[in-house]
């Protein structure tokens, strides 16, 4: 029942394609992550878990420590495998993420999945370990996958540097018939130093072992042990929810091409709110859009939610063309606000050119309910707008002449 904030560092390097852990190293890791998140949240509802990836283009925080399991499960979808793992950077970013946790009373813990060779030397790992100990951060290491020379030594040295009173652990999982998650379940990483979480672990183990010893639903008598039965039922439901989300994602991928731009703006709004309600489906959308543009947008959105004001202007500009297409009045209002904030004259002229294009505007107006383009008042407005834009062009021309 220890109140804890955990950051899980996932290895999504090229070495994770290997299938020696079924179905693939990466998938085994993902399953283990899901189970760990469940166990942590169950042992104490105020616990928070965050996830980051260490390989790929660089260390990337997928979700900051949260107690919302759905968010964590969702962010595990659509992860790409590639690149090399950067253990030192990963641990340091995890430490930073924990430092900025919302509830300062939570203990700090980092869980690292080390599946690929480690390029750092022992000394630097020891220094990192000491820094973690100094800031009272506990570290759990899961050593699996590649076993190249010195890797075990380095990890043991790192653990020795961090370990303070046996709060940090290391687990070696070798390839074999047992799934990674099953092996982890019996370790202190899962059981949380031998208290609370063990109930969940036992329940999950019973379910996984496909035990049907007695005639009861989960192999456990609800009368004898109601808590255990409840835990088993919850884990089954979570599994079902996950599979439903996967099925929904598959269905969405089919209709993804049709939606195009709308989905883009809706996913932006989804990522901008901190805890989006119905986060699973919208977050699925977010992960489905894998084109480069969207990745860049995603980075911006994530950066925004981490309070970096620099990227906000880009997002603002992106949204405007979508909205302008629907409502010329709104577009005018936006145009004015853009005038105030950025003083970007180029977008203005784009706007006014759009509006000046009479045929375009009249087609828009025709689509609006209750507006008759032949109405004299509407025609007046159109005429005035056109003259306004002409005047602006004239001003521009005179300005340029003066220069």
């Amino acid at each position: 029942m220890v109140l804890e904030a955990t950051m899980i560092c996932i290895d999504n390097s090229e070495w994770m394609r290997n299938g020696d852990y079924s179905p693939s190293r990466f998938q085994a890791q993902a399953d283990a992550v899901n189970l760990i998140c469940g166990a942590k949240t169950q042992s104490n509802p105020e616990n928070t878990v965050g996830v980051l990836t260490m390989a790929g283009k660089g260390v990337r925080v997928l979700v900051t420590p949260t107690s919302d399991l759905g968010k964590i499960l969702a962010c595990m979808h659509g992860l790409e495998i590639g690149g090399e793992m950067n253990l030192a950077a990963g641990i340091q970013v995890a430490q930073l993420a924990l430092k900025h946790r919302q509830n300062k009373k939570q203990q700090q813990r980092i869980i690292v999945f080390a599946g690929s060779p480690i390029k750092h030397d022992k000394k630097s790992l020891e220094m990192i370990g000491r820094k973690l100990k100094k800031n009272s951060v506990a570290l759990d290491i899961v050593n699996f996958g590649e076993d190249d020379e010195g890797k075990m030594e380095k990890l043991e040295a790192l653990l020795a540097a961090v370990n303070n009173n046996d709060t940090s652990h290391i687990v070696h999982v070798s390839a074999g018939p047992n799934a990674l998650s099953d092996v982890l379940m019996s370790t202190p990483i899962f059981t949380g130093d031998g208290e609370g979480g063990s109930g969940f672990a036992a329940a999950a183990a019973a379910a996984a072992a496909a035990g049907g010893v007695s005639g009861f639903e989960f192999g456990v008598d609800p009368n004898l042990d109601p808590e255990l039965a409840l835990a088993l039922r919850v884990s089954m439901e979570e599994e079902r929810a996950r599979q439903e989300a996967a099925a929904k994602k598959a269905a969405e991928e089919a209709s993804k091409q049709e939606k195009g731009g709308e989905e883009q703006s809706s996913s932006q709004e989804a990522t901008m709110t901190e805890h989006a309600s119905g986060g699973t489906s919208e977050a699925d959308n977010k992960k489905n859009d894998l084109s480069d543009d969207d990745n860049a947008l995603l980075q911006q959105a994530l950066a925004m939610s981490m309070d970096e004001p620099a990227s906000s202007h880009d997002l603002q500009d992106m949204e405007m063309p979508d909205v302008a297409a629907d409502d010329p009045e709104l577009a005018l209002a936006l145009q004015l606000s853009v005038q105030d904030s950025t003083k970007d004259s180029s977008s203005q002229t784009d706007m006014s050119k759009l509006l000046a294009d009479q045929s375009f505007v009249s087609s828009i107006l025709a689509s609006l309910p209750g507006v008759d383009p032949n109405d004299p008042s509407v025609k007046e407005v159109l005429a005035s707008m056109q003259s306004q834009s002409e005047k602006q062009d004239e001003d521009k021309a005179t300005e340029e002449e003066e220069k």
């Binding site: 000491r130 820094k131 100094k134 800031n135 009272s136 540097a161 303070n164």
Partner: protein, 177 residues
């Protein structure tokens, strides 16, 4: 002479603030598990010379002491051994949850460089104006006397007065008239 003066100064108006420490919020970063903060702060433990607060991974320590009420801090006594006792001590008031990384971001309310005299028990008198309204105190021990790997502190005592208590005394005087 000056030593005697400062000790009488303590007896006169100041009180050992041990009773006003909010023990549930006391934290210490980088302490060794066998030699913890209670050895230096708590009554009985701190008098015992065998029980020390010792640092763990390196020689720095960050101690956070919240109080149950607002106090004025007058002086601080830090006792330790001549070699491994602390040297540079920085004090911060009313800053919660500081870490080693942001300890250099704020100017300290006061800095004290301890001499061997101080380590024997001579109190360090602090800048009075900076410690008028203290809800919590953060003590950052930057290094020790001989730059050894760990810092050992035998006792930390805080002397000052509480804000409410002073008011009560004032009321009593009026009644006498």
């Amino acid at each position: 002479m000056s030593a005697a003066e400062s000790t009488t100064a303590i007896q006169r108006s100041q009180v050992d603030l041990l009773d006003f420490i909010d023990w549930s919020g006391v934290e210490c970063l980088n302490q060794s598990s066998s030699h913890s903060l209670s050895n230096a702060l708590k009554q009985g433990y701190r008098e015992d010379e065998g029980l020390n607060l010792e640092s763990d991974a390196d020689e720095q320590l960050l101690i956070y002491v919240p109080f149950t009420q607002v106090i004025k801090l007058h002086a601080i006594v830090i006792k330790g051994s001549e070699e491994e006792g602390p040297k540079t001590v920085k004090l911060f008031t009313n800053k919660e949850h500081m870490g080693f990384s942001n300890v250099n971001d704020f100017p300290p309310s006061d800095t004290a460089v301890l001499s061997p005299d101080n380590l024997k028990g001579r109190p360090v008198v602090l800048k009075y104006v900076k410690f008028q309204n203290v809800r919590s105190l953060t003590i950052f021990i930057e290094d020790n006397q001989s730059d050894s790997e760990t810092t050992k502190i035998q006792m930390i005592a805080l002397y000052g007065s509480t804000v409410e208590t002073t008011d009560m005394k004032g009321l009593k005087k009026i009644e006498e008239h």
